[in-house]
Symmetry: C2
Subunit: 332 residues, 2 copies
Amino acid sequence: MLASIAHRVPPRSYGPWEQVASTLAEGLVARGHDVTLFATADSVTSARLHAEAAAGYEEDAAVDAKVYEALHIAACFERAAEFDVISNQFDFLPLAFSRLVRTPVVTTIHGFSSERIVPVYRAYDDIAHYVAISDADRHPSLTYDATIHHGIHLEQFTLGAGDGGYLLFLGRIHPDKGTAVAVDVARRAGLPLVIAGVVHDGRYFAEEVEPYVDGSAVTYLGPVGPAERDRLLGGARALLHLIGFDEPFGLSVVESLATGTPVIAFPRGSLPELVDDGLTGFLVADADAAVDAVRRLASLDRAACRKAARTRFSAERMVADYERLFARISAT
Amino acid sequence: MLASIAHRVPPRSYGPWEQVASTLAEGLVARGHDVTLFATADSVTSARLHAEAAAGYEEDAAVDAKVYEALHIAACFERAAEFDVISNQFDFLPLAFSRLVRTPVVTTIHGFSSERIVPVYRAYDDIAHYVAISDADRHPSLTYDATIHHGIHLEQFTLGAGDGGYLLFLGRIHPDKGTAVAVDVARRAGLPLVIAGVVHDGRYFAEEVEPYVDGSAVTYLGPVGPAERDRLLGGARALLHLIGFDEPFGLSVVESLATGTPVIAFPRGSLPELVDDGLTGFLVADADAAVDAVRRLASLDRAACRKAARTRFSAERMVADYERLFARISAT
């Protein structure tokens, strides 16, 4: 398994690609597979670890991204003959190596950062095995072997009471994630908003979020680790996920469901696949409808949210899906 | 031959890596070799052209550098079995593919953009064939097969009279190239300075060069094509090459010599290998010494400059050096 090296595996806080690589690698090892994880040297795994970079390039300025991406990907392909299948969780660059080895490469496409990267996926469509992370994220010009929704470790999330009296924003502070919309909706709904996550767009934060942060109506906590994440999610009345882009998959959405907390979201990208409208949250057309949805939260059952997460978004389900796919591909 | 795809081959104006790739490819074809040039689709060559990118990523915003670098390099390595040798004029990324094919890869190292890229070269030192472009640019931790100085097409440069009454700066406008030092030296020497080249550092240009541009004492022409380059060089009393970095090779230095124009330079990097002090120019310790050197220009013989260029820096010499190296490597 070729992980991203922006962060270690699993990530300390932000790092959805690295989180998925970790969950999948650990799950496959638990099911008895011999897994070699290509990741940063500070990664923590029960798989065999092969590291070229000492740390993630987002975490250590001494690690040059382009240099270590090259060494990291090459290391995996140079050992390709040892593996039945290569699980590429890295983005498009490994595809460029894929015709030079016999080992099948299964590429999980974690979203298209821009339409400009599609030509590489198209160039390898004939030999590649693509996995979409949601049906919504399937690109019409590519051929996919499967859609596999991400799964999470349910045991790391506790069914909470949702009795903290606040709404929660959890994710990167960026217009894509709709932080400012969440501020607006919470204010109009008359509930405090707690914001947790890394600032990915400093100007957006300074201009559209920070002016409202007063420590009571709006609180900003910065990035949070797993334990606080669980506590914050479990105490929230709802997660506000009022995104400004077609999100390929929302890990925080299914994490919220795992704590029993419903999600109020705009129905863009994968969201209709993640939230059952009227059961595990509300899919709303605009900010006005989001304010209205906050008032209807009492009609939702927190146990039903947790159950949906367990049934549809568990690590076990994800690992089983990939295991089936890898078995099928390596047998042909 | 794997060229850089920042610009087309040969470059319209700036593009030293693409210029060397062009000179070498054309020279090998002229000597009867079957050469496939991997370059942009708008490249002009008598070799077989394989293009993935429509144009250079520095010249066409629609070309994503990372995407097309991947497709471009992969295309070459996917066809590796067709070639006796791959001449890598691209930088370090192709090395990552080099263990996956049997064809030897000869990598011309066009300089180290930073010490941070050295780990990739070191990781492939065992199987790589490195060519230094000057002895000065050899990195102590790497093993080289040869130093091959660049060569130029002498027939594209005319022995000029040096009677334009000006000093010349030719190259990127950047502190590395010493544009502001050239302005200072020319003013103190009492001669007009003509500046030609692309602005690579806008702030440096605006603050340290542009204030002196008055169209008479200091003239700025922008980038210039081959014909004007030849005319400008041939009319200059001297080329001022008062660099602020250890330059791996200075193409403009040998182009200047080819027009008979001597070079006044700081003796950093490859410059002592390019300029014969007291014969084809002056190697000077500082700006004061450069001003003094301008006054001693009459002691130099322009024909000797042209002769040095013909003897040591012709395309034919460079092509013959590479041909010998490629033959030796493909025979082993």
